[in-house]
Amino acid sequence: MNRISPVKIWRHQKETAFFLRKEGKIISWTLVRTPPEGFEREAPYPVVLVELEKGKRRMGQLVDWQDKDLRVGRKVKAVYRRIKQPDPEGIIPYGIKFKPI
């Protein structure tokens, strides 16, 4: 299920480039303890909803975090990270995550 499409990753490149290094604030967050398929190895992991400059919003996982970073208002920056486990053909999906700054 949910095989990774290299074409789709390629199509997302422009969007990914737009978000990279953008800074913003956490407006809501959760800690996912029951993950979907492909994310088991990272769980539990925080997912944050971030408001960037000019009001644009983006959801992504938070990396390099400590408990004190899990709060509304925390400043974060968009970074490029592996999204989930590679599929059987060995394609490693990368995308946007956030880290505290």
């Binding site: 299920m1 959760t30 800690l31 303890r33 993950p35 979907p36 994310f39 996982q61 999906p93």
Partner: protein, 384 residues
């Protein structure tokens, strides 16, 4: 508008490993037919509400599949709108009658979820979300946890305040022989259950369930049943919003539900204060709190307190919410839920619910939500 609910039926909800989707549908439909005192030959079209059959089981084309199973080769349609698939199937069936295309229509909602492991089901349910949410490894408990977080920050609501929703709905389900969980839980049990997506715990969440519900709808009939009250659907409305949470202005309300409710109240010519009984989409405890406010039952920020005071509990309140046990305790076979809600309100308005009867109920409402609020379906019913 006036659409008559001619007959209703529902299977037990739960972990039904020995039963196939075909058998579930057959059982719910035969109950609805006998309740309506109609034969299959009277049915002119079939609408099926389902979300996960394709993604989990690889089986699509459900209109034809259930037409075959029932031996009912009429026009048949599958309607999908995540957890609102059932409500959307009813809405489409109603529209077909209002358009004058059919006079008597069968609606079925069905879901078979427990054949698969939780990881598969969690991933499949995320089909209702936004691609960006899937890439974040998000889950539905996680999305509602974000709504809960925002709501709690804004109104100072606590986990304990949210837990009362589960306690009330479990209590109602003890009176429903078709409910998945027919036992009580306490606030402390909810607060001690494991975290699924902080701040939501296992007992804040509706379960993974199997089940089917069915109803037969018709244009106004000449002959009336003299032995029981007739139940009418007087409003059916749908509204949509952004697929994912990133597109929402407000994380403490579902704009789709507010809009669908506004249209439904206008269509039915009623106010929130006129509603005696409602089945709302409590996929998570926070969802019932937000639903009660979106529907205008309580002012913003006050629903959890009102629920805690018993204002929506059977035998205590004036406006009873989720007498079936809701999604939380009756169970949530996603495609069936929106149909089951109307089945429950219909039997409530007929006065046939026995122990969980809302006394003197005349006007009822159902609130069915798909995704994290991407689509909402509201129906208003009344008896005569």
């Amino acid at each position: 508008m006036k659409i008559e609910v001619l007959g209703v039926g529902t299977t037990k909800f739960g972990e039904l490993w020995e039963v196939s989707p075909r058998t579930l549908v057959k059982e719910a439909v035969s109950e609805a037919l006998s309740d309506a005192n109609l034969k299959l030959a009277n049915i002119e079209a079939l609408y099926v509400g389902n979300m996960l059959s394709g993604i989990l089981g690889g089986q699509e084309n459900l209109g034809a599949l259930f037409a075959e199973e029932l031996g009912l080769f009429v026009p048949a349609f599958k309607i999908e709108g995540a957890c609102a698939s059932g409500g959307l199937a009813v809405h489409n069936a109603i529209n077909s009658i209002l358009a004058g295309v059919y006079k008597t229509v069968l609606v079925v909602g069905v879901e078979k979820m427990t054949d698969y492991n939780p990881g598969e089901v969690v991933s499949a349910l995320m089909g209702a979300g936004h691609d960006e949410e899937r890439l974040a490894g998000m889950t539905f408990p996680g999305l509602y946890a974000m709504l809960a977080r925002s709501y709690m920050e804004k109104y100072g609501t606590t986990e304990r305040d949210l837990a009362v929703v589960a306690v009330k709905n479990h209590h109602h389900a003890t009176l429903n022989s078709k409910a998945q969980f027919q036992f009580e839980v306490s606030v402390d049990q909810v607060l001690k259950s494991p975290l699924v997506a902080d701040p939501l715990r296992l007992l804040d969440c509706s379960p993974i369930s199997d089940g089917a519900s069915a109803m037969i709808l018709g244009s106004e009939r000449q002959e009336r049943s003299k032995t029981r009250k007739t139940v009418w659907i007087t409003a059916s409305s749908v509204a949509t919003d952004s697929l994912g949470l990133v597109g929402r202005k407000d994380l403490t309300s579902l704009a789709s539900a507010v809009e669908a409710a506004r249209k439904a109240y206008k269509m039915a010519g009623v106010n929130p204060q006129d509603i005696d009984v409602a089945e709302v989409h409590d996929c998570f405890s926070i969802a019932e709190v937000i639903a009660c406010e979106d529907l205008g039952f309580f002012p913003k920020g006050e629903a959890a307190g009102a629920i805690a005071k018993g204002k929506t509990t059977l035998g205590q309140g004036r406006l009873i919410i989720n007498p079936s046990g809701g999604l939380k305790a009756c169970g949530h076979p996603v495609g069936a839920t929106g149909v089951k809600q109307i089945v429950e309100i219909t039997t409530q308005l007929r006065g046939e619910e026995g122990l969980r009867q809302v006394k003197g109920a005349k006007i009822g409402l159902t609130h069915n939500v798909g995704g994290s609020g991407a689509v909402a379906v509201i129906h208003v019913l009344k008896n005569e």
